[in-house]
Symmetry: C2
Subunit: 255 residues, 2 copies
DNA sequence: CGCTTGATTGATGCCATTCAACATGGGTGG
DNA sequence: CCACCCATGTTGAATGGCATCAATCAAGCG
């Protein structure tokens, strides 16, 4: 309980920091032109003039790993594009059990437009940079720009598909299948280095929170996969998939 | 295995039936005016003329309980509004374990616009009526009518919120909490009769498929809740919530 | 070096599953 | 109307997978 309080305390300070770090004036206009994610983010289909207008209501902020940007249940006051970094979306039961309901990467959109409450917390897993918009201004802009709303719709539909696919994992897969599925998913989304090693953006506890398992079970499953020669480990976060085919079999239940 | 094949067989026939049942010409124009869900469905914000145009590309079809309209993984060729009835959205693992990823009611929207594949199957739980649109025509109409896209976006955002909340249940709640949560959810969405009894649209097996449990566990939990006097049963599908407060406590983990 | 944090490993117990038998009740045909 | 049937649901006993509790290990850091 004390620990929970400390976390909440620290997080409040984080949120205050985020607000304080907000510069008083937009991305500064020049940012969009050299934005790393401008062709993937929801603003991609806007023309130069429209992007300039959106620019004026947006602000860049930096986050440190561990900082929380939005809190489950709070009134929804901010939305943002992720410029760089990885963040988690999470919800908790009253007694503190946590479930990670999504992991977002660069060019993804976060926050809840067109709604009163933020349905889940958003926390940076790595250092991150956001292009932040106040809700009122963003909602208004979106309603006036169907191209933006359309991209937002596409993105939301994709998110929904992926989320529903994850429900199958949570409801019906066992620990072995869950871990194998996650590793394959990460392999698809993250770029491997020249040795074929991918750097997991998640700690063991966070993997457990994504999969609906405990940290010990995750650790055992990963250990088993290593012993079987299906994967190889490189430090705490590094993983190399040695036998992709077998790993795929395991993700589907062939043990 | 034989049974699974039979089901698949029957379902193919169902799909054929759905297509065959499609009349050659729209809802007939007059349908929208007296549509039961026109104020709740995504067409609500269209004016009369626009609704007429949408009408021309839509077709009413009736479904019998058990019929499947769309198949997981098939190319997405249809979308629809639910006029009446309850349907389930489901996915399965290769070896036949099923997870219900959503339950939809009258005025809800089904199908996958703006995407190649249908990510989950859609099956009628009760007899149902749909207002069915071919994908190409619907996508085109939506893109030309931001008001429609906006409502679709709102709906999709709501779906995503609800789906993510359900992930917490699947990943972190135990059987008691799962069943209690579902009963409360049903109580909220379904209208009770004058005795306070709600008719569940789901069989025990389907409840199990929603909650990621087995049918036996569901049966035991419901039995326990009855013995504790928290709920009362009326036939196989009827449930009356006797002690709502206690049931809410159980949904959150206070046993 | 001691301390902290994150990960692994081990021992034990519990809850949900599994396998099985049995009950119920809605529908049908004699 | 009743006997029968089959699908659906309930109950029981045994198993096992994952959680829990706890100790140990490894790595980073002041």
């Amino acid at each position: 309980m004390d620990m929970r309080f400390d976390l909440a305390q620290r997080a409040q300070e984080d949120a205050a920091f985020v607000m304080a770090a907000v510069p008083s004036r937009g991305c500064g206009g020049q940012y969009c032109d050299r934005c790393e994610v401008r062709d993937q983010a929801i603003c991609a289909d806007l023309d130069e003039k429209q992007r300039g207008a959106l620019n004026r209501i947006g602000r860049r902020v930096s986050l440190q790993a561990g900082q929380t940007v939005m809190w489950e249940g709070d009134s929804s006051t901010l939305v943002a594009n992720v410029i760089e970094g990885t963040l988690k979306l999470s919800t908790s039961t009253g007694d503190g059990r946590e479930q990670i309901v999504g992991v977002v990467y660069a060019s993804d959109f976060i926050g809840r437009p067109f709604g009163a409450r933020t349905p889940h917390s958003v926390t940076a897993l790595t250092d991150a940079r956001l292009c932040l918009y106040p809700r009122g201004a963003f909602d208004g802009f979106a309603r006036e720009h169907p191209a933006l709303e359309h991209r937002l719709l596409q993105r939301t539909l994709d998110d929904l598909d992926r989320t529903r696919a994850w429900m199958l994992l949570l409801g019906r897969k066992n620990a072995r299948e869950k871990v194998a599925t996650l590793l394959l998913d990460m392999r698809r989304r993250l770029r491997a280095d020249r040795d074929g090693v991918i750097e997991l953006p998640l700690s063991r506890q966070q993997i457990a929170d994504v999969l609906g398992l405990t940290i010990e079970t995750v650790s055992r499953q990963i250990g088993d996969l290593k012993r079987m020669g299906v994967i190889a480990l490189a430090g705490r976060r590094g993983v190399r998939v040695v036998d992709e085919e077998r790993l795929e079999g395991m993700a589907e239940g062939e043990h």
